[in-house]
Symmetry: C2
Subunit: 356 residues, 2 copies
C-alpha cells in the first residue's frame, strides 16, 4: 500500500481557531495556469505627493490639513465604514429578518487611519527597527485609548492594490466597535473551550509545539515566532505568536516591542523577497477583548497577528478563493510545510537593497 | 432624535444560515474609489477552438478526446483538487496538529467538469430555455449518480476571470466528497436548530416572508423566487429558493425544472444588464446531504442556490473582502433592498440582443 506523503496526497487539516477544516491538495501546483494574471505592483511612487490625503501637510476630503508629521500619524477616516453617531435601529421584526444584536446596545464603530511614516515610497520591511517600533508603540497606545470604550479594536493593514488598498502611502486602519465581530467572537469561543478542557491557552501550547517541531517555522527570536500554521488557508499565510502568555499589545514589555519590530522586519523582507515584489497582504491583530470585557477573565486569550497574502505562484498569479471555497471548504495548493520551507530559506536582506 | 433609515445609517444584520453578522454601511457608496480597477471581461471569444480542452472533439491534457457533444458534456477533471485514490493519512499526532476527521473514514473527493453547451462564445443567459433545462437535468442526474456514494456533491460555477475561472467555455464543476465540508456542515446545523425549535424548514419560512414583503425580490415565478437575502454579503448576492419544500435537485418535477430554467435565464440576464458585461460570479447548489446521510431525516433542509458576484460599482470596480472582512466581519456598501431594487428594475432582454 502506498505511504501517505502530505506534499503528494490529499488530506484535510483542522483549524482549531475557527473550528473548521482545510483541504490540502499539493499535487495541484503541477497544473498549468491559464487564468487571470494580475497587474504588476506599482513601482514608481513619489516620496511626497501634496494631493495624496495621507501625506504630511496634505488637505483631506473634509478640509482638514495633516500635520507635518515625522513618524506615525493618526486621524479619523473621512469615509468611515460606520458613522459613530447613527441612530439605533433597535430590534426589528421576526428572527429571520433581524437587525442589531442585543436590544439596547448601540452599534458604534469608529474608523481611524494610521500612517506609518511620512514618506509614500517606503513600506514596513524597508523602515528601520526604531521606525517600526514607533508603529508598535502607537498601536499599543490606540489599544489603550479605544479599548477603554470599545469592546473590540481591530488594527488591520490592507497592503497592495490586489488587497483593495487604494493608497500606496504606508498605513493601516483601526476600526473600534461596541460589539465583538464574528471572527473574534469565534476565536474567543474556541480559545475558551480549549482553555476549559486543557487549562492552558491554545496558542501558547501551539507555539510550544511548533518551536519543538520546527518544520513550519519561518523566523523566530527570543520572544516571538512566526509559523505557517498547520491549518493555513492562503498559500503563504503566517501566524505571529509571542512565546509567553500575553493578552494584548499594550502588555508588551519594552524588550518585546523591540524584538517584535525586528521579527516583523525579517518576516516582511522574506515576503517581499519571495517573488521580488512588494508583497500584498491583509494583516491584523487579535488579542483579548476590551471595553466592557476588560475586567472579565480572559486567560484563554493569547495575543497574535494573522498575515493573509493572496499570491500563489508568482508576483502576478494569485490564489482565488471562489466557488468550492465559498460554497464548501477552503482548499490550498501547497502544504504549510512547503510554504514555510520556501519562506525560511529566503535571504533576510531586502531585494531592493541588494540591487542598489 | 434622528430616525433610523437602513440606506443611510449603519447597522448589522444577522445571517441565520451561517450564524453570523454583516455590517451594512450604505453611506460608503458615496466615497470616491481610487483603488484597483479590473481588466474588462474578454469579449471576442471564438465559438470553437480546437486547442481548448473543453471544446467538442478537443484532446485534453491526459490525452483523452472529447466527444462531438451537442448539449452538456461531463468528464473527470484532469487536474483534480484531490485524487480519488490517495492513501489515508489516518489520525495524526495531537489535537492541535490534526489531519483527517474521523478515524477510518477515508477522505475521497471526485472532481468533474461539466460543459453547458458545445459553443465557447455562449453563456447561460444567452442559452435557450430547453438548453438550460438540459443543464438542470444533467445536474439532477449527477446528484443521483454521485450522491449514491458521496455524502456531499457540490455543484458550482466560477464565471469570469475575476472569479478564478481559467476557461471561457461555459462550464461548471462538480466536486463530490465522502464528508460534509464546512459550509454545508454549518448550513445543516443552523437549519436543524431552526427546525427543532420552529417545526418548519428555515428557508421555506424565509421564502414565505420575502414573498409577502416583496422589497428584496429580484424575480419570481410560480415555483421559485430570487431575493437579495436580508443578510447578503456580496453587493449583488442572491439566493434562489423554491416555494415548496424540496430536499434535492433530483426531486424537482418536470414543471419545476422548466420554471427553474426560466428564472435562471431571467436572473442572469439582469445580472449581465446591470453593468452591460458578462457578469462574473461563483454560484452553487446546497441541498440535503447524500451518501451515508440519504436515509437520515433531512426535513430541516431546503434546496437552494447561492450566487456570489463580486462587482460593486461598475464592470471594472469590485468589492474587496479584505482586512476588516477577513479579520473581523463582512461589510457591505449598499443595502440588500437597494441592490434588489436595482436588479428588479433592469430589463429582461439581454443587452447583447438589443444591440444587434
Ligand atoms: O479548478 P479551477 O477552475 O482551475 O480552479 C478554480 O476553482 C477552484 C475551486 O473553486 C479554486 O480552488 C481555484 O483557485 C480556482 O482558480
Ligand atoms: O477603507 P478602504 O481602505 O478604502 O477599503 C478597503 O478596506 C475595507 C476594510 O477591509 C474594505 O471594506 C474595502 O472593500 C477595501 O477596499
Amino acid at each position: 500500500k502506498e505511504i501517505f506523503e502530505p506534499s503528494e496526497h490529499q488530506h484535510i487539516r483542522y483549524n482549531p481557531l475557527r473550528d473548521e477544516w482545510i483541504l490540502v491538495s499539493a499535487h495541484r501546483m503541477k497544473r498549468p495556469w491559464k487564468g487571470q494574471v494580475e497587474k504588476p505592483t506599482e513601482v514608481n511612487i513619489a516620496r511626497h505627493d501634496p494631493t495624496n490625503p495621507l501625506c504630511p501637510g496634505a488637505t483631506r476630503a473634509n478640509g482638514e490639513v495633516n500635520s507635518e508629521y515625522e513618524s506615525t500619524y493618526v486621524f479619523d477616516n473621512d469615509f468611515p465604514s460606520l458613522q459613530p453617531d447613527a441612530p439605533d435601529p433597535g430590534y426589528r421584526r421576526c428572527e429571520l429578518l433581524e437587525a442589531q444584536f442585543r436590544p439596547g446596545i448601540a452599534i458604534i464603530i469608529l474608523c481611524k487611519v494610521m500612517c506609518f511614516h511620512p514618506h509614500s515610497d517606503i513600506t514596513l520591511p524597508l523602515m528601520s527597527i526604531p521606525e517600526i517600533r514607533a508603529v508598535i508603540d502607537k498601536w499599543a497606545e490606540l489599544m489603550v485609548e479605544l479599548g477603554s470604550k470599545y469592546q473590540w479594536v481591530q488594527i488591520f493593514e490592507n497592503k497592495g492594490a490586489m488587497m483593495g488598498c487604494s493608497n500606496p502611502h504606508p498605513h493601516c486602519q483601526v476600526w473600534a466597535s461596541t460589539f465583538l465581530p464574528n471572527e473574534p467572537r469565534l476565536a474567543d469561543q474556541t480559545q475558551r473551550d480549549h482553555y476549559n478542557s486543557h487549562r492552558v491557552p491554545m496558542l501558547l501550547e501551539y507555539a510550544k509545539l511548533e518551536s519543538q517541531k520546527k518544520e513550519r517555522i519561518v523566523v523566530e527570536n527570543e520572544d516571538w515566532l512566526v509559523v505557517v500554521p498547520y491549518w493555513a488557508m492562503w498559500p503563504f499565510q503566517t501566524l505571529l505568536l509571542p512565546r509567553r502568555h500575553i493578552l494584548r499589545l499594550q502588555d508588551l514589555s519594552d524588550k518585546e516591542r523591540d524584538s517584535l519590530a525586528s521579527i516583523m522586519k525579517r518576516l516582511l523582507t522574506k515576503y517581499d523577497n519571495l517573488f521580488e515584489v512588494s508583497f500584498p497582504y491583509s494583516m491584523g491583530w487579535h488579542g483579548a477583548p476590551t471595553g466592557q470585557s476588560i475586567l472579565d477573565d480572559n486567560s484563554h486569550w493569547q495575543l497574535h497577528a494573522h498575515y493573509y497574502p493572496p499570491l500563489l505562484r508568482s508576483a502576478t498569479i494569485r490564489k482565488f478563493m471562489v466557488g468550492y471555497e465559498l460554497l464548501a471548504q477552503a482548499q490550498r495548493d501547497l502544504t504549510a510545510e512547503q510554504a514555510a520551507e520556501r519562506l525560511r530559506n529566503l535571504p533576510e536582506v531586502h531585494y531592493k537593497l541588494k540591487q542598489n
